[in-house]
């Protein structure tokens, strides 16, 4: 099962490599990983999308909590949450494809943020699966380049991850 794990950790040199190293050393998989400082600059917020059986996810959370730099760990996917990912995708846009690509971007509520005679750069946000669907919907031959931030997520309503 896919899980989104949110981590608050000390914003210190090497803290990220402890988390990444833990996943590789123990054979856990990482689908995406994002990290940035929070409003409190001494803290980083990290989001990892991973998958595994309930037992594996339980071990992942316990092992993460054991890292000395980790302050809190939450499995967001355990309850109501919002997930967002940003994708920038550069596509070939010539002839009749120009209209077609624009229409598709509109359907997915993407924005074209760079235009040349032969290319567009489209900005798209949404859940990971929405971005996947966009890539599937577009003619693969047209895709020149994609870059995705990886998923970040937050709990709904009263679910708050804070020190």
């Amino acid at each position: 099962m896919r899980h989104i794990i949110s981590i608050l950790l000390e914003n210190e040199a090497g803290a990220l490599s402890r988390v990444a190293g833990l996943f590789s050393a123990r054979g856990y998989n990482i689908e995406t990983l994002t990290v940035a400082p929070t409003e409190d600059l001494s803290l980083s917020r990290l989001t990892i999308v991973t998958s595994g059986t309930d037992e594996v996810i339980e071990q992942i959370t316990k092992q993460l909590n054991k890292l000395v730099d980790v302050i809190k760990v939450v499995d967001l996917s355990e309850a109501a949450h919002i997930e967002r990912e940003l994708m920038l995708i550069k596509v070939r846009a010539t002839g009749k494809d120009r209209e077609e690509v624009k229409r598709l971007a509109d359907i997915f509520r993407g924005r074209i943020i760079d235009v040349t005679e032969s290319t567009y750069v489209i900005e798209l946000t949404g859940s990971g699966s929405k971005l996947d669907s966009f890539i599937q919907a577009i003619d693969t031959g047209l895709i020149l380049e994609t870059v995705r931030t990886g998923v970040s997520g937050i709990g709904r309503g009263d679910r708050i991850l804070k020190v």
Binding site: R18, E58, Q59, Q63, K66, V68, V70, I71
Partner: protein, 569 residues
């Protein structure tokens, strides 16, 4: 008044009441060594190889419960220390290892003797630090000792660039430490403890299984009280030997790959298993599916939540410090005046005594050959069971564990988790420094001892009265045993030709060497070593039966009830 970083490092160690630092100097720690020279509170022990520095610090820690301290230089000093650090990590031993680093401005430039010590050690430390500011030294070292010794203990590496040890600032050692990201749980959850006690009282076939956590938390007393109060059978893992008296009638021996029949069958057939500071290692429970195939309720006390339900599903998890949780259990038992199910327990003991009657540890004597088990039995007699026994890794380790009955904790020092050949002699050194006047025996094999043999020199320098009991079978015996049993007796590279003359070797280092080739000379040689040469290091080279194997044995991947016994072969 300001001090240099180097002086601050030494002052911090003094504040932590460190008596011994095991180490080896080099360029990047020269400022620190200069400060060591100028004081006399901390004694530095110059080893002959950095691996042994860490092992010796580890041996001191295992035999006392104190934090062991080692110091090494950057680059090769740090990489040589890695095996020692990983060994301590696997067995949860509290250490602080201080390593020198190239000057801050050189980091990342492939400078002379530069290596990414923090990166290399990250997977085998509890935590590590690279200090980048002289102002951070005191707080970081305080944190290092705190992290190493609390919660589930472990090694902490503090990497200090040379320029930081030359920079100056004011010194103040923090009195307390508060870390928002690190707060080990001590008290167990009362509701869970209550549930556990009820399960224990209702059990028909209860079993207590304890490990290194009881030793690490100095809870032998509480454990003994609880076990006697309940009248349940108990076993101690290889890391837990001595937590419960090895000579007591309720004690069934060690469980696991080379455990006793009665311990393994009682583990397997128990209906309630109380696990205390033990981590269901693959060498203990064998095949986890086989182990889980019988219905059984498991109570697990451990300070590290990640040890719980890692390999085996647990019914009543209790996260907490062993002595605190056991005190709570004893209180509940007293308050309720409750008694376990006596009739069921009597039935259960009858079954266990049946298994015990198999006498699985019996071995055959062979004419004119020294049986290794016999040497350990005699070692036990000659030392009155009171020695601190260290061991290396192999068959000799298992025989020492099986035949020396440990009645007290912190008397058995060995590498269980990483299984590091070479620890025996440095462990004995650490133990000898920390326990003056105590008998110290290092049970080893002719292969293992050669992995840190250079320390005979250190032992001479500091006049350490260690007795080396070399069970010399002229084989990588444990490897040979597996090859005999599972590889059609194809002894690929497990025979060691051209062994040194250990007696001469010991003498070359200035020690006493004795060779023993006949069973009738075993006892006299041990007495000579422990009595006549009480204050000397004595290397006793016992030429033992080359074909002796360790039994019982649960082969890899097999279940606990599928033991191979000596008599089966």
């Amino acid at each position: 008044m300001t001090m240099t970083g180097a002086e601050i490092v030494i002052r911090c160690l003094q504040e932590e009441k460190v008596e011994y630092v095991f180490g080896y100097p080099g360029g990047s720690v020269l400022h620190i060594y200069d400060e060591l020279f100028k004081q006399d509170k901390i004694k530095h022990i110059l080893v002959r190889h950095e691996q042994a520095a860490v092992h010796a610090a580890d041996g001191l820690a295992r035999s006392t419960g104190k934090v062991g301290v080692a110091m090494v230089t950057s680059g090769p000093g740090a990489t040589n220390a890695v095996t020692g650090i990983a060994t301590a990590y696997m067995d949860s031993i509290p250490l602080v290892v201080i390593s020198g680093q190239v000057p801050t401005a050189y980091i990342g430039q492939d400078a002379f003797q530069e290596c990414d010590t923090v990166g290399i050690t990250r997977p085998c430390v509890k935590h590590n630090f690279l200090i980048k500011d002289v102002h951070d030294i005191a707080a970081t070292i305080k944190k290092a000792f705190y992290i190493a010794s609390t919660g589930r203990p472990g090694p902490v590496v503090v990497d200090i660039p040379k320029d930081i040890t030359a920079a100056r600032c004011a010194f103040e050692y923090p009195k307390t430490i508060q870390m928002r990201s690190y707060n080990p749980v001590i008290k167990g959850h009362l509701g869970q403890i209550r549930k556990a006690v009820q399960l224990l009282l209702d059990a028909k076939r209860p079993m207590i299984y304890t490990g290194g956590g009881v030793i690490l938390s100095d809870a032998a007393e509480q454990l003994t009280k609880l076990t006697r109060r309940l009248g349940f059978p108990i076993c101690n893992t290889l890391m837990g030997l001595g937590a419960y008296p090895g000579n007591d009638a309720q004690y069934l021996g060690m469980p696991g790959m080379h455990g006793t029949v009665e311990a393994n069958l009682a583990m397997q057939h128990s209906d309630v298993l109380l696990a205390i500071g033990a981590r269901f290692d693959d060498r203990v429970i064998g095949n986890p599916d086989h182990f889980s195939s019988l219905p059984r309720k498991i109570i697990h006390i451990d300070i590290d939540p990640s040890s719980i339900s890692k390999r085996v599903r647990v019914d009543v998890p209790i996260v907490g410090n062993v002595p605190d949780v056991l005190d709570e259990m004893l209180k509940l038992l007293d308050a309720e005046q409750a008694k376990p199910n006596a009739a069921a327990l009597a039935e259960w003991w009858k079954e266990i005594e049946g298994w015990r009657a198999k006498q699985c540890m019996k071995y055959k004597h062979k004419k004119n050959l020294i049986m290794p088990q016999y040497v350990i039995e005699k070692l036990y007699e000659v030392t009155g069971g009171n020695a601190i026994v260290t061991s290396d890794v192999g068959q000799h380790q298992m025989w020492a564990a099986q035949y020396y009955k440990f009645d007290k904790p912190r008397r058995w020092l060995n590498s269980g988790g990483l299984g590091t050949m070479g620890v025996g002699l440095p462990y004995a050194m650490g133990a000898a420094f920390a326990n003056p006047g105590k008998q110290i025996a290092c049970v080893t094999g002719e292969a293992s001892i050669q992995m840190c043999i250079q320390e005979l020199s250190t032992a001479k320098q500091f006049r350490l009265p260690i007795k080396i009991v070399n069970l010399n079978n002229r084989y990588l015996g444990m490897v040979r045993q597996w090859q005999e049993m599972f590889y059609g007796s194809r002894y690929s590279e497990s025979y060691m030709d051209s062994l040194p003359d250990f007696v001469k070797l010991a003498e070359a280092y200035g020690h006493v060497g004795i060779r023993v080739e006949r069973p009738e000379d075993v006892e006299a040689a041990l007495k000579k070593a422990f009595v006549e040469h009480k204050d000397d290091l004595v290397f006793i080279d016992f030429l033992t039966d080359q074909k002796a194997n360790v039994f019982p044995m649960v082969a890899a991947g097999k279940g606990l009830s599928e033991m191979i016994l000596a008599e089966d072969l």
